[in-house]
């Protein structure tokens, strides 16, 4: 029988933190995320400077419409919730739950990417390619970099689902799931800034 404090400790310290190797990898992943913050920071500054350099192309106000962007936002925010549910299931040793919620997450991610590609394709069809102005170059690159991060995340999630199904909740797989949720939440935070700086300020 374990005492109350011990139970508390085992809840507070999941296996992937207790294992030396895996906890080192988690630290490494946090540091990787800081480099990604700087990467997005650079792209945001480029966009902020280029926002009004529209040349003969459309202004942000003319280009953006709230409907699809709001849908993308809601989908991504939901996916970050389901991603946490997956981690929660893994922490409670429910493999099926972890796999199921992770699958939901990657499907939501895929529909986010689909909507974004549709938005981009619509802009390009209307003749608004990134060649047209510095603003469009900055817009497509900033939002596209986020979208390609989500796409990489989907590929990662697919591999993770396969690994969870074949290997179960090993310490390594728990660490992979944990770093994946870090990555996914990070992309969500980036999107919140994107939504505000690019779309809300653009439409306003």
């Amino acid at each position: 029988m374990s005492t109350a404090t011990e139970t508390h400790r085992s809840v507070a310290r999941p296996p992937e933190f207790e294992d030396t190797h895996e906890s080192i990898r988690i630290l490494g992943f946090w540091i990787f995320l800081t480099t990604d913050v700087v990467l997005f920071g650079s792209l945001f500054s480029v966009y902020a400077v280029f926002r009004n350099r529209v040349a003969l192309g459309p202004t942000p106000h003319q280009l953006f419409s709230m409907g699809p962007v709001l849908a993308e936002t809601l989908i991504l925010l939901t996916s970050t919730f389901t991603c946490s549910l997956s981690l929660y299931a893994a922490r409670s040793n429910r493999l099926k739950g972890a796999v199921a919620w992770l699958t939901v997450t990657l499907l939501l991610g895929a529909s986010f990417v689909f909507l974004e590609i549709r938005e981009f394709a619509g802009d390009v069809m209307a003749g608004h390619t990134w060649h047209q102005s510095a603003f469009l170059s900055g817009f497509f690159t900033l939002v596209g970099t986020h979208g390609s991060h989500v796409t990489i995340g989907i590929a990662w999630a697919i591999m993770l689902v396969l690994q969870l199904m074949s290997g179960g909740l090993t310490v390594t797989n728990r660490r992979k799931l944990y770093t994946f949720t870090l990555y996914w939440h990070f992309l969500d935070i980036v999107w919140i800034f994107l939504f505000t700086v690019v779309y809300l300020l653009g439409i306003a």
Binding site: I24, H131, Q132, M159
Partner: protein, 661 residues
Amino acid sequence: MTMNPWILHLMKRLFPPQVLLPDIIGIDIGLTIAAIAAIVFLTKTKRWGWLWREWITTVDHKKIGIMYLLAALVMLFRGGVDALMIRTQLIAPHQHFMSAQQYDEVFTTHGTVMIFFMAMPMVFALFNAAVPLMIGARDVAFPRLNAISFWLFAFGAILLNISFSIGGSPDAGWMSYPPYSELMFDPGVGENYFLLSLQVAGIGTIATGINFLVTVLRLRAPGMTLTRMPIFAWSALITSSLILFAFPPLTVALGLTMLDRIFGASFFTLGHQGMPMMYANLFWIFGHPEVYILIMPPFGIFSEVVPTFSKKPLFGYEAMVASLLAISILSYGTWVHHFFEMGAGPGVNSFFGLSTMLIAIPTGVKMFNWIFTMWGGRIRITVPMLWQLAFVPTFVVGGATGVMLATVPADYQYHNSYFMIAHFHNVILGGTVFGLLSGLYYWWPKMFGWKLNHRQGVWACLLFVVGFWLTFMPQYFLGFQGMTRRMSSYPPGLGWTALNFWSTIGAYVMGVGFLIMVYNIIWSRIHPDWDTTGDPWDARTLEWSLPSPAPEYNFARIPQVHSRDEWWEMKQEGRTDEVKISEKTVHAIHMPRNTPMPVLLALAFFVGSIGMVFEWFWLAILGGLGVVAALAYGSFANYSEKEISRDTILQTEAQLGRLES
């Protein structure tokens, strides 16, 4: 004559007129012969398997360090030949040794190779060779990632270096400012090579930054608190954190230029309201911290070399750490000093001028600390120490001229003149390269197990240093007299002729110094002076408590650290037996297994990059799929560890005479 037009087109693409110059064809033939000779040698001596098992698939930080070092020396040769070509062109007025176009290509590759493919890998060579050993670790935090970093660097270097014989070299300077670097003014594949090779090597560099940051933070031996850590490990920690914040802006700058050139975006173009200044800002937000990334490790090296050869602990350890930290923070607030003239206004310029001058203070603190460490010490003039002694006056001059350049109104006079060229060679060559060569001579016995001949080393150092002063002192005066950088020739009668002549002579003297260093290495390999003690310099830190070279697992027993300069304290207190093991204390050790994944991943990046350079998108996609496949393989393959058994360790340590009696 009928020739398939498709093949004709391809040949024109791969071999445009600028790669059909006689000297380039000569080099191509030489390289082909050398490659064939290497293949024949490896086949005859049946070493392919050895090469694959021992080197190409290795994840051992010591071997990766050796590969970095050899690659860096080859690149030092290549960049040095570029430098000599530049100086040969400028030896007298109206020289046409090279065309203006080729001159542009040569100064571009000189700068790019020296910064990214010589100095950076040599820094990483010494990090790999020394840092894990001096903090009492068995490897870096992520051994496989370390190999990935190396191979990305190696394939990036190959990519840049094949440009001159296939497709044409980059020619927009090592900063590649738009609009020169844009498609409109610079068609052809040269700039694409520049962008892709730096991008690939840059990914590796970011990975190395993460790796060494985690290594130093998490893998220190018990008892080694941050304040007991050798300064070189501190410099690795701080350099790594600088890399993390400096390289992503470079990634963005290069990436956006690539989108402009290959995919028709309008970031830095003149039309469509693009903004070339944006590139200059992004590039120097990377570029200024980069010069501190290059100088911090030499600061760390000197902080190991000076105490060792003065037989004294380092003077002002805390001040050393504090000044490293101060420099690393200040270095982010100085980037505008690279373009005071581009119209930022007096307020902004004053801020950046002042912040630049402030950096001189912590740097001066370090200078005094090294001098005070020598003060009253028993100084031994070894080759590493000689490089340090050469560094002190050189770097003081370089630093002082740096403060002159930071004075905004005066900078309008100096900017992009030979004064500035002399200044940054003074600090990068006289600081970084002197420091790295000091480290090379210092840790060479630990890396290879034999020492480099002292007499030859002294000659190499003396010639190099004399050549250095002779090359760059005249250039300060050329700058005052109005000679600007990147001139491919100049007329007589401006008072530049004699100064340029002596500068060129100096460059050749440096070249002779380098050749003697190569001779020194080869001679010492043929007549090895084996280091049987593991501690040839009577040094102070933990790496010298190990045999030279260290066994695969480094420490059979992880030491317990009680103080700074732990190995010195062990020797003073007669505790050196602590590093020995006995049957009772030995345990099996787990080490990571070799894996081909890193080299395959980097190869995929290389193939994809070639596709991007020539805009063969099918090849780029193929390379991209290769990257995904390599990553998936890396994720699914059971990245297992192997066990080195107790018996093997006992056997190895017994052979090295490290068993407790």
